[in-house]
């Protein structure tokens, strides 16, 4: 008889090992899925995980990994601070959208001026936009005790309506023949978040993501506020006795994650995406939640998890194109990753014991 036995303390080994085991389990289960679809599973797995890094066209895909991974990491870092303190911001997608709208809007207000101040202004406006959007659930929570999970999530849909509205109205390209969508910022140097070194994929968003990782690491390990964040999540009662101000913490965590999500949106709209359009958001805010957990809410872990997630996206597209795998199979494959992670997380807190059932 197999039983689960609660561990006296969460296992450190399993806590570190579960992401790796989850990736392996995903490869095996995914391989079986691909085999069931009549594709060579080894080739499929190699296409997804190997080709973008070391394949023939890796020179193109490696930079793309940065482009795809940067917003994920930037958002996930912000989310992880809140998640550690037990503050659940599920609405990063909305904050991402609002950051992009505010940032692009602030820039486009000065079109076609050519000033070195425009891009920095857009960065500030982008961060503020995301921050302000996250402040809504934060203030509602601290003043009226509403649930931040629901409020932040619902605000995503409000933000999507805003996005559609500005694409069709306020920010619509006057030279766009009536089609929705803003001017393309890529063709306006003052506002273009271009690659810092051509061909590397390294744009300001990637730099910001790396800085965020370092700051989060220092904050959590070397700073009183970081200690308060961890304490609130691990031992809320003790945190109260230690004098942690919960209101301040909620405002800080939601505000920071909102600002980082807003920044991610701004760097995306001014760089890889180029324009505000109705379909601008592609789910980074939600995927970042997976990235945060896959990375164990640890800054370095999130960096690696963001890279891995980006890899499955890029590799997944290659597998679709080269092997004719349906996109649904790729999505199932990505979903398995979180599924196995959460399932295996059980082993962090429980151990499997083999014993006979006790007769009562």
């Amino acid at each position: 008889m197999i039983r689960l036995e609660k561990r006296p303390q969460p296992s450190r080994v399993w806590s570190m090992a579960t992401p790796l085991v989850a990736v392996l389990a995903t490869m095996i289960a995914g391989g079986l899925l691909f085999a069931a679809l009549g594709k060579n599973p080894v080739e499929a797995i190699r296409t997804i995980f190997w080709d973008p890094l070391f394949g023939e066209f890796a020179f193109y895909y490696r930079p793309q990994l940065l482009v795809k991974g940067a917003p994920l990491v930037l958002i996930a870092i912000g989310l992880s601070l809140g998640f550690r303190a037990g503050i659940w911001n599920i609405g990063a997608e909305g904050q991402y959208i609002m950051g992009a709208i505010c940032g692009a809007g602030a820039g486009l207000a000065f079109y076609p001026a050519d000033s070195a101040l425009i891009f920095p202004l857009m960065v500030v406006a982008g961060a503020l936009g995301g921050w302000a959007w996250a402040m809504i659930p934060a203030v509602l929570k601290t003043r009226f005790g509403t649930n931040e999970i629901l409020v932040s999530l619902m605000l995503v849909y409000v933000a999507e309506q805003f996005l559609a509205s500005v694409s069709l109205g306020l920010l619509k390209n006057p030279e766009g023949f009536g089609f929705p969508g803003s001017r393309n910022l890529q063709s306006w140097d003052a506002a273009h978040n271009a690659e810092l070194i051509t061909g590397t994929g390294m744009h300001w968003g990637v730099v910001a993501a790396l800085i965020a990782v370092i700051f989060a690491y220092v904050l959590l390990n070397r700073h009183m506020l970081g200690y308060h964040i961890r304490l609130s999540g691990e031992a809320p009662r003790a945190a109260r006795f230690a004098g942690v101000n919960p209101t301040r913490l909620v405002l800080f965590c939601l505000g920071t994650s909102g600002a980082l999500a807003g920044l991610a949106g701004l760097f995306e709209v001014s760089g890889p995406s180029g324009q505000i359009s109705i379909d601008f958001n592609v789910g980074y805010g939600f995927t970042a939640i997976i990235v945060a957990f896959l990375g164990r809410l640890h800054p370095v872990g999130i960096l690696l998890a963001g890279g891995l997630m980006a890899l499955t996206y890029i590799g997944g597209d290659i597998a679709q194109s080269n092997m004719g795998l349906p996109s649904a199979a790729i999505q199932v494959f990505q979903g398995m990753l979180l599924f196995f992670l959460l399932a295996l997380d059980l082993l962090t807190n429980f151990r499997i014991a083999l014993s006979k059932p006790e007769v009562v």
Partner: protein
Amino acid sequence: MKLNKLLTSAAVAFGLATGAVAADDKTKVGFVYVGPVGDGGWTYEHDQGRKAVVEEFGDKVETVYVENVAEGPDAERVMTQMALEGADLIFTTSFGYMDPTINVAKKFPNVKFEHATGYKRADNVSTYSARFYEGRAVQGHIAGQMTESNIIGYIGSYPIPEVIRGINSAYLHAKEVNPDVQFKIVWAFTWFDPAKEADAAKVLIEQGADVILQHTDSTAPQAAAQAAGNVITFGQASDMAEYGPKPRVSSIIDDWAPYYIARTKAVMDGTWESSDTWDGIGAGMVKIGEISDAVPAEIKASALALKASLADGSYHAFTGPIKKQDGSDWLADGETADDGTLAGMNFYVEGLEGDIPQ
């Protein structure tokens, strides 16, 4: 060790390169789809076009496709990847792929690109689109006579000229046969989202609509109409015949196959040139699906007559006198709309209620 690895990968790269050269006598054609190939509508028909290319050229052609590609940087990456992998011709089949297509085309001057429904072209980028509004005219003609509640529900995707043109065309021709007809329009802000589309259809039916027209890609509105009973629909982009003879009484079909075959042939022959194609019923790019027995014979006959006049060019779907919604004159008596105005159409015609979302 490191050197070893380097040499191995170099050898592998060389092997792949020679492999690529050996396979180069095949023309490689890529397709980028915004929805899943099984959407039963827009993307499905593009994929039928791809299959027709395979059937036509057999071993001489290799096709690849990626479905569910988000408009934006993801689309750019997928196109670049296809170009890197040796595609000679790439069809990008959604309006939102316009800027990505232009960006990628700049980097690969030797690869030909074909962008559906856009307006930006380059030496190696063509655009193509179907005069879907001609089909809408026939649809409006049938719908206006079939409705008993005089309320026609319309599920819009995005308020872009292509969709607005369709609404105007359907309305004008419904109004022509039924002066009391009223259009209720719901904007779904998606091309493909069965849940949203079904909700939109239900809302319209609750408001009294007994005809549902859609400019979204899934069959969900058809299913919703079927469940409601006594509501008729039209197949969108694809025949959707499985919902006939009722609710689906007819359909507008995009037939991309002849165009895709012709363009692939042009690449093979080296005669491909950047062009702007906008074909309708006459050229066969837009087809009217079988009108089912749920439609009375005389309505069917007049609908087919209208279709014939659109096909031979004796009638234009936008023929004056037509006023704009605000009452100002647009087309004088007998005047027909020019393509430029149609391409950028951002106003309703007189009689339509509500505002275009801004």
